[in-house]
């Protein structure tokens, strides 16, 4: 009879089991195919956004009447702000003002990623505050959740459109307008998490030790909501990027001189029959970006939040 493999039993001790579980959450994330795929694609897009001036682009606001409506790959000329006329290859063609669509699309990456991340952060910040308050301060729960129900009954895009219409489009107003309809969803999530977590023994222990409420909320409860919030945040980011493009496309978003994918597509609408590339190039970038964020979110959800993964 062979001697028992002691190493195998050591690995089953309580401490090491806990250590393995601790490690595996992050390692599961890193090994997940969706996370890798979405993460890599987003890293590339981030790089494109940061390196926009060095990718063979010109100033995206430059235009030249001599280079109007060029097909993709055609060469033409463009006048710089200094009045110099330079030769330029229009990789994705030019629009009816003679602006380089490639440059506008590459610079548009900056706007889209910025809007996506900032709406997610803003919605999470307010959602966390309201959710903690609602889950912890019982007297506030009823009234606050009724207001949230009301906000959720108004379709998100209508809230965003109406707010931007009143405030006039700028980067700040667009981000705020897109974030507001997302807040109730975060609030509900945080509230339900808080209601579960506050029944945990360690929270009870903290309460009985006389720990101040604020410290319990931010020190004991909030850290345990991070995984589901991260998942929710990626989906808000994807929705934010889409909504910004929709607003700009409809002509109610960012001012038309700011190069965004939605704006490029809006300008391409009138000439879609002859020059469909005006819409297709930014459209492909938009779809790929939103797809990457969604895939990343799916991967995070599968690995970090198995309960949620089972539901949908």
């Amino acid at each position: 009879m062979p001697a028992p493999d002691t190493a195998k039993y050591e690995a089953l001790s309580v401490e090491s089991a806990a250590a393995v579980r601790q490690q595996s959450a992050w390692q599961r994330v890193k090994r997940n195919l969706s996370v890798r795929l979405g993460g890599t694609a987003l890293a590339v897009l981030l790089l494109v956004a940061l390196a926009a001036p060095f990718l063979g682009t010109v100033d995206p606001t430059l235009f030249d009447a001599a280079s109007r409506d060029l097909l993709p790959g055609k060469s033409g000329e463009i006048t710089t702000l200094e009045g110099e006329t330079v030769k330029h290859t229009f990789l994705m063609g030019s629009d009816s003002f003679g602006r380089d669509i490639y440059s506008r699309v590459v610079y548009g990456t900056r706007v889209s990623l910025f809007v996506g991340v900032s709406t997610a952060l803003l919605a999470l910040a307010f959602g966390i505050l309201l959710g903690l308050a609602s889950g912890y301060l019982r007297w506030l729960d009823g009234p606050l959740m009724r207001v949230m129900d009301g906000v959720m009954a108004i379709p998100a895009i209508l809230i965003a459109i109406a707010l931007v219409a009143m405030w006039r489009g700028s980067l700040l107003t667009v981000v705020v307008a897109i974030a507001i309809p997302e807040i109730p969803r975060v609030t509900r999530l945080v509230r339900s998490l808080v209601l579960t977590i506050r029944e945990e023994p360690y929270v009870e222990a903290a309460i009985s030790l006389g720990t101040p409420t604020l410290k319990i909320m931010f020190g004991h409860i909030l850290p345990n909501t991070i995984a589901p919030l991260l998942v929710q945040g990626t989906f808000i980011c994807a929705a934010g990027i889409l909504t910004e493009a929709i607003l700009s496309f409809l002509g109610v978003g960012l001012p038309p001189d700011i190069p965004t994918w939605g704006n490029v597509m809006a300008e391409g609408r009138a000439q879609f029959n002859e020059y469909p590339h005006n819409i297709f190039f930014p459209g492909i970038f938009l779809a790929v970006t939103v797809l990457s964020v969604n895939i990343l979110g799916d991967g995070l959800r599968d690995t970090l939040d198995p309960k949620m993964a089972k539901r949908v």
Binding site: A153, I154, F280, A287, R311
Partner: protein, 313 residues
């Protein structure tokens, strides 16, 4: 049953009230004079003064809300400054295209997505399941207007099968009505199909693990009967729920789709009103869409009793 109906009806009142307050507050939270905003950019001082007295804007905010809400209850949504007609009448004119588009979209989405979801759950983990889940992520991610232009380009411009844009009233013939509606409703249904197929799959997958499914199979029922009568019927409640929640997505999609396909419906009216900063119209459309959303979800809740007789409330 009637008690439940009454209770569920009453529960929508606070939600609708909050919506009304929010829509009312939207204008008041805007920096500047609400009367000047309501009158629009082209109004003169006299028009602004008239609006101010009509809406009681010089009175306390609660009184203002009372006047506005009282009018609302009588179906008076105010007057559009841009179209110079009553907002309620304006909405009435634009109702048909949007209702047609929404109904057609839901019909296509449910008829396509539910069978796909059931099949995916039936062959869980197989190639069909993986492909469908892949396409559903894609369906969530592809912006509705990009999809619209791809379809217009292929189906209308290259193949010439369907009209590019526009809308024909159903009174002008069912044929033209259908051909004009086909492309927009297919476009709009894609994201909805992605959503419903996912939930159908997850929900059917769960019921397929139940004991009664094993019993049904053991007693030799054909697989189609097991899937539809036993699995799908018991999975119906989450599917109905997601169809209701998805109405919000649908409304957002309507705004964009009508704009791309030049359909003169409520979505188009919303965009035009926003571009003209026509606030009474914006408020009216938001109220109507929210009301529709709440009403559909009320119907969905009522359908639970039908799908699952155990639910009695």
């Amino acid at each position: 049953m009637y008690a439940f109906l009454a209770r569920r009806l009453l529960s929508t009142i606070p939600v609708l009230l909050v919506v009304a307050v929010l829509v009312f507050m939207m204008l008041r939270l805007t920096p500047g004079d609400p009367a000047a905003i309501l009158a629009g950019d082209a109004a003169n001082t006299e028009q602004i003064a008239r609006i101010r007295t009509n809406l009681g804007l010089d009175r306390p905010i609660l009184v203002q809300f009372g006047i506005w809400f009282g009018n609302l209850l009588q179906g008076d949504l105010g007057e559009s400054f841009y179209y110079k007609t009553k907002v309620a009448a304006l909405i009435g004119q634009r109702l048909e295209p949007t209702l047609s588009l929404a109904t057609m979209t839901i019909l296509i989405a449910v008829l396509v997505a539910v069978p796909l979801g059931v099949l995916a759950a039936w062959r869980f983990g197989g190639w069909f399941d993986r492909t469908l889940m892949g396409f559903s992520v894609l369906g969530f991610s592809i912006p509705v207007f990009v999809l619209a232009y791809i379809l217009i380009w292929i189906v209308s411009l290259k193949l010439g099968w369907l009209p590019v844009q526009g809308y024909k009233r159903i009174a002008d013939g069912v044929g033209p009505w259908l051909t004009h509606l086909a492309l927009p409703s297919v476009t709009l249904s894609i994201i909805y199909i992605a959503l419903i197929a996912r939930v159908t799959r997850a929900s059917v997958l769960e019921t397929l693990g139940e004991d009664y499914i094993r019993t049904a199979r053991a007693k030799g029922l054909p697989e189609s009967s097991v899937l539809v009568r036993h699995a799908l019927t018991n999975a119906a409640v989450p599917i109905a729920t997601i169809i209701g929640i998805g109405i919000a997505l649908l409304i957002g999609g309507v705004v964009v789709t009508e704009s791309v396909y030049a359909i003169p419906g409520l979505g188009r009216l919303t965009v035009d009103a926003v571009l003209a900063r026509d606030f009474p119209t914006i408020q009216g459309v938001i109220l109507l869409f929210s009301f529709a959303y709440v009403a559909v979800n009320l119907l969905v809740d009522l359908s639970y009793v039908f799908f699952d007789p155990r639910i009695r409330y």
